[in-house]
Each structure stands twice: as C-alpha cells, then as structure tokens.
C-alpha cells in the first residue's frame, strides 16, 4: 500500500484519481489468532494498531458484525476534549489528547484534528461552582482549562447570545483551548489502514455468536457467523452491544444501552469558530469542515438498541440552540440519527480484565467515547499484550463496582443522563 504524500497525490491526479489502491484488505478469517478484538469501531481498530505497532503482536483479527466504523464511531459529534474532574479521568483523557496532537502524521492519514477550543457554558450558580471546580482540578493536574466571564465567552465565540433576558442566561464558561474536533470516519479509516499495514486482519460482516471457553474456564476462541476463530486472548470493544457479547461468556455487566441522538444542518459558510456545549440546557454544537452545524442532543430516557429516538429530544436541543445562537433560528436541519451508547453507573469507562481468564473488555464509554479513541486503544493494547492494565487504565476496572472505588464523572459527561 502506498504512503500518502505530495508525489502520490500528483501522480494519481494525472490519472484522474482512478487508480488509488484499496487502503486495507478484506481477508478470510484464519483458524487461529493471538488476539481477537470484537468490534471494528475507532477503539477496536486503535487497539489493533497499537498492539501491532507498540507490542509487536501482529497476529490479530478485528471482527466486525457490520462495517468498519459504522456504529458510534460514525455517529458521534466528533468532539475531542479532556476537561474531566478526577485524576484517573484526567490521566486517561489527557493521554488521548496527547496522542491526538500528531495523530495525522503518525497514521499518515489526515484525521482533520482541529484544536479550535471547547467552551462549556454555565447558566446557574451551581454550574459556575462545578465548572470552576473542574478548572481548578484540571490546572492542578496540568490539564489545560480556564474560566471565562460571559463577555470573554462572547469574544471567543461571537454568535453567542449573552443577553440577561434569556431563560437561562450565560453566566460564564470553562474553555479548553487545545480541545476541538476531529473527523470521526477518518480516525477509524486511519487506524484501519495503519493496523492493516502491520498485518492485522480486519474482518467485516462477521458477527460473533458465542465465546468458546475451555474446561478451566479460560477463553479458547469465538464462534462467529464465519466459523470458529481460536484465540487465547479476546478483547470486547462492542460499545452499546457489550452486554450482549459478555452474556455469551456469562459475565454480568453494569451497563445500560441508551439511544443518543445527533443532527446536522444544511451546510453554510464558516460562521461558528469553536465548539460550544451546554449541559444545563442540553445543547452542543460545532461547525464541520463541510459547513454543516453538527449538533448533539441528549439521551432518550429508556434502554433501546433501536439506533433511533424520540423527536422531542432533538427538538428540545434545537430550542436551546436557537436561544443561545439567535442567528441560527432560520437554519434548516438536514439529517438526524441515533447511536446506542453503553452507560455505566459512574459515567466512566471499564477497561481491563474480566472474571474470565483471557477475556478483556473496553466499554462503558457512554456518551463520550470518541474523544478518547487513541488513548483508549493505546492502553487497551497494553492490557491485551501484557495481560495486565497500563497504569493509566488500572483504576478503570470492572471490579470497582464491587469495591466501591467509583470514578464519578456525571458532571463532566456533557450529556445529562
């Protein structure tokens, strides 16, 4: 496979871009692998990439029921940030933030990371207290975050309405300047291409139907719609369907799967300079490079795998957007859709071992997994290769729900649950 550079671009331009090769293979599954990863979303593909690159484990298969990056990786609102409250989360999300910085160069694939800043609005005294606490906690941990007055917020994002007559006036904002957005599909494609280059088999249209366990209880492989695939180590990275997969191994999970919706407007010229989020009135928005406003709505209240939700949820979000940004009141919305997000009781992910030897899980990212894709894959690859967690994901065990050492990030998860 060719490396993307100026000469390749020029060469292919001469043949009207009709001769670009495939960026990854479509191999038949082998009978046995060292590691099988269930789920070819961003996190699963990143795991495979770092397994091969950093740990030399290249006899790896990534199994995907549908198509690569077709789940929540292709459905999120592309926001990247690391302004979480607790030290454990700061370590995890800032690790991802470090990896985002030069990910395009690392993968030789333009993931369009744009550090345009993420601003979280405060509308109540409680919001001010919570966000200032986040700012101080982040700064103590060396994570970038700063407090802005309403006027400063308006200066950073001119379309913002800071009128005192709003139902929920803007009282201030927390700003993380190096946060921003990245092209979600490109992240999955870049990692897929990178992993494939090292010899990882990405097997699409291959649903896992069972997890084979030996007499000692340890994992022996997975049964799939394309036959039995043996592996001593299996990593489950199945997002909203994690419970379904873990049920096959008889492991109960502290997860509930909810619909999370998003929508985009018609494309317009560049007019919105950053990402703005508001937890209190349930709206967050940025503008894509195509010019569409990318808007995130909240979760529906009930468990569902339907990948759709009630229209009242996005309608509520749009009401908030119109109040915050009056200039968008006449914008028309083009599309809306839903994803299935796996939410843990403490809104923090689970990355590590399970009670079944050889079975590992990376799940529970809830409404905010995209931002952590590189870091999640990096530490989960370490966990799969060594059999023990990386220091960064060591606190994010499944066992914490037994010990009570929860990592409560309900306030940092931008979507109110």
């Amino acid at each position: 496979m060719s490396r993307f550079n100026f000469w390749e671009l020029a060469k292919n331009a001469l043949s009207a871009h009709e001769n670009w090769g495939r960026q990854w293979r479509a191999p038949e599954p082998k009978a046995e692998y060292d590691v099988v990863i269930i789920g070819a979303g961003g996190h699963g593909l990143a795991t495979a990439y770092y397994l091969a690159k950093e740990h030399g484990v290249t006899n790896v298969a990534v199994l995907e029921k549908g198509w690569l990056g077709g789940g929540n990786t292709g459905r999120n609102t592309t926001i990247v940030r690391s302004n979480y409250l607790w030290e454990e989360s700061e370590g995890l999300y800032d690790h991802a933030m470090d990896l985002w910085q030069d990910l395009s160069q690392e993968l030789n694939y333009n993931i369009m990371y744009s550090a345009r800043g993420v601003m979280m609005l405060a509308h109540t005294i409680h919001d001010i207290q919570v966000f200032k606490r986040h700012v101080y906690a982040n700064r103590l941990a060396g994570v970038q975050n700063e407090w802005l007055t309403a006027e400063e917020a308006k200066e950073y994002c001119p379309p913002l309405n800071i009128s005192k007559n709003m139902r929920y006036p803007v009282l201030g904002a927390a700003l993380q300047r190096k946060a921003g957005v990245a092209r979600h599909d490109a992240v999955a494609w870049g990692y897929a291409r990178g992993a494939d280059k090292y010899g990882v088999d990405i097997i699409q249209n291959c649903a896992v139907t069972g997890i084979r366990r030996g007499a000692d209880g340890a994992v022996e492989g997975v049964e799939t719609s394309r036959g039995l695939i043996r592996a001593k180590r299996v990593g489950v990275v199945a997002a909203g369907h994690t419970t379904t997969v873990m049920d096959m191994a008889g492991v109960r999970m502290p997860l509930e799967s909810y619909p999370l919706q998003a929508l985009v407007s018609e494309p317009v010229k560049p007019c919105f300079p950053c990402v703005v989020m508001s937890n209190t009135i349930h709206a967050y928005m940025s503008q894509s490079d195509k010019g569409e406003l990318v808007i995130g709505a909240g979760t529906d209240q009930y468990i569902s795998y339907s990948q759709t939700g009630g229209l009242q949820i996005p309608a509520h979000t749009i009401e908030a957007i119109c109040e915050l940004f009056p200039m968008f009141r006449r914008m028309r919305m083009l599309r809306n859709w839903g994803g299935t997000v796996d939410v843990t009781p403490d809104r923090s992910p689970i990355i590590g071992k399970t009670p079944v030897p050889g079975l590992f899980v990376n799940c529970g990212w809830g409404t905010g997994g995209f931002k952590a894709t590189p870091g999640s894959g990096h530490v989960f690859a370490h966990t799969l290769a060594r059999g023990e967690p990386h220091p960064i994901n060591a606190p994010f065990t499944l066992d914490r729900f037994r010990t009570g050492r929860l990592i409560d990030e309900a306030a940092a998860a931008a979507v109110a649950h």
Binding site: H241, M253, P254, E256, I303, S306, G310, L311, P345, F401
Partner: protein, 101 residues
C-alpha cells in the same frame, strides 16, 4: 416518541408524561447487613440490559404519579404488555414465542 398506556388511568399518553425508572423486579435485599460486596454490586449496578424483551418500570409523573411495569422490546421499542405494580412478571420466553406466532 413512545405512546404509553398507563394501567391505572387506562389511557394512552405520550412519553413526555412519563418518567423511566429502569429495570423492574430488582428486589431490595431483605437483610442488607448480611450482603457480601459481590451481592451489593449485583443489586446496585449489574443490569440485564437485554437486546430484546425487557421488564422495566415507568412512572406516570404528569398523570396519576404512580409506578407501573411494562415489557418492551428494546430493538423495536414496542410495548408487549403493561401491568400494575405487584403483579407477577410475565414469562418472557413465552411472550417471545407468542410474538413469533
């Protein structure tokens, strides 16, 4: 938006009148002081989260205010049956068979 029939009011109403209350039939431990950590974790946090029929609680928050149970398919979001608090949980496997017929 879901349309939900409250078994107490006997009327079909839009979902925004109701509040979801999670998985049903999770009984509070009779003797909490005797539970192990594993049993607490099971009671507090572990959930069935099925892709298929789920027994769940709803509350008619903007109506009679009462809790009730429902069986809903989490793939199609269709309600299979709705029943009052205190009534026995229907046999989900039988409901699946009936739905297939």
């Amino acid at each position: 938006m879901l349309l939900i029939t409250c078994p107490y009011c006997g009327v079909e109403r839009p979902e925004i009148e109701f509040r979801y209350a999670g998985e049903a039939h999770i009984a509070r431990p009779a003797e909490p002081s005797k539970l192990t950590d594993e049993e607490w974790a099971e009671y507090l946090y572990m959930r069935t989260n099925p892709k298929g029929l789920l027994a769940e609680r709803w509350r008619h928050a903007h109506g009679c205010g009462r809790f009730f149970n429902a069986i809903r398919d989490t793939v199609s979001d269709r309600f299979v049956t709705i029943y009052k608090m205190g009534e026995a949980k229907p046999d989900l496997e039988r409901l699946v068979v009936e739905a297939a017929q």
